[in-house]
Symmetry: C2
Subunit: 201 residues, 2 copies
């Protein structure tokens, strides 16, 4: 799920996972909750943006090519921007009528997506493209969308190795405090406030 | 340190200890911090009160009798109420002049107290006796004082067995939410509030 990392880079001491959604960690004069999904989104997004900036290959072939039916206007919009889609890892061909053929999807997305999910992802990206915006914004939204679909969800039990990898990789990102959508990845509870609540003086 | 208990009685799932002061536990739709000292005070206090009510022996002999110097008024006050002191586990004799001999101290207190600590404990109890109050209140204060001196402190690392015992014994007390001095033993953080902070909808 997450690549194992060198433990020496860990700043947070991990206590465990609660509600199968948050990690509890301790560091310095505070403890923190980390939202595992938001944190993973940040990690995947940053990794994609880095690869994209470095012109790395963003594509992974599907095991089976998938044929998808679009509306006329969706297909029009897609073909108009087909190069942009291919730049971020899609490999799409016109398949006649309202059909398109998907040969490859962007990297990082789990390759066990069924055709329904591939369609859902693609049409969301097409709809985002339709909104009036500059190219860079669309790409950032596209990567945020892909990161969301590629990240661990709330409700997913994580192993200790996965927790270690998540926390360590999060620490090494440039903006570890928030996910690409702007949601916080962590909440801090400082021990001074805790002591006051316990009437410790 | 703490007696081991049957794990099946645990309601809280323990995640670990932070700041060597609090235990983090999960239960239902919340996670909790437990103040290890306040929680242990509640456990020891309840146990002492139960033994006292059941007329159990409250005394433990010191390895070496301890001679303590008191002020004239402290000694007067002590001798005036000597039976009350002996009822809660002290065994004290007049040793002439301003001296007293301590043969036994109440149970539950660690028996490695040095004479300075024994004196500190005793004079605090004498001073509490001096305040205008009824007998029952003094006994409760005395047990709270003893419980405080007999409990794990903040800054003390606990093993998993000790954490399990603490949490389980706390759950089985009648007033697990506060220590005998009225301080909270636990703080609840409900997941609804946590989700709001993470902008989860």
């Amino acid at each position: 799920l997450l690549a194992p990392v060198d433990d020496r880079r860990l700043i947070f001491r991990i206590l465990g996972q609660i509600k199968k959604t948050y990690l509890i960690v301790e560091s310095g004069n505070s403890f923190f909750l980390i939202d595992q999904h938001a944190a993973h989104e940040r990690i995947v997004y940053d990794s994609m943006m880095k690869d994209y900036t470095n012109n790395k290959k963003m594509s992974q072939a599907l095991f089976d090519n998938t044929v998808i039916t679009l509306t006329t206007s969706q297909k029009e919009k897609l073909l108009e921007h087909i190069e942009t889609f291919n730049n971020v890892g899609w490999l799409i061909e016109d398949f006649g009528d309202e059909l398109i053929l998907v040969r490859a999807i962007p990297v990082n997305i789990k390759n066990d997506l069924n055709s329904f999910n591939v369609k859902d992802l693609l049409t969301t990206a097409i709809d985002q493209m339709s909104v009036d915006r500059d190219r860079r914004n669309w790409e950032e939204d596209m990567f945020a969308l892909l990161a969301c679909h590629s990240s661990v969800r709330a409700g997913q039990k994580l192993s200790w190795n996965e927790m270690n990898a998540l926390v360590s990789q999060l620490e090494s990102t440039d903006y570890p405090q928030s996910c690409p959508h702007g949601r916080p990845t962590m909440i801090e509870y400082d021990y001074k406030t805790v002591a006051k609540k316990f009437l410790r003086t």
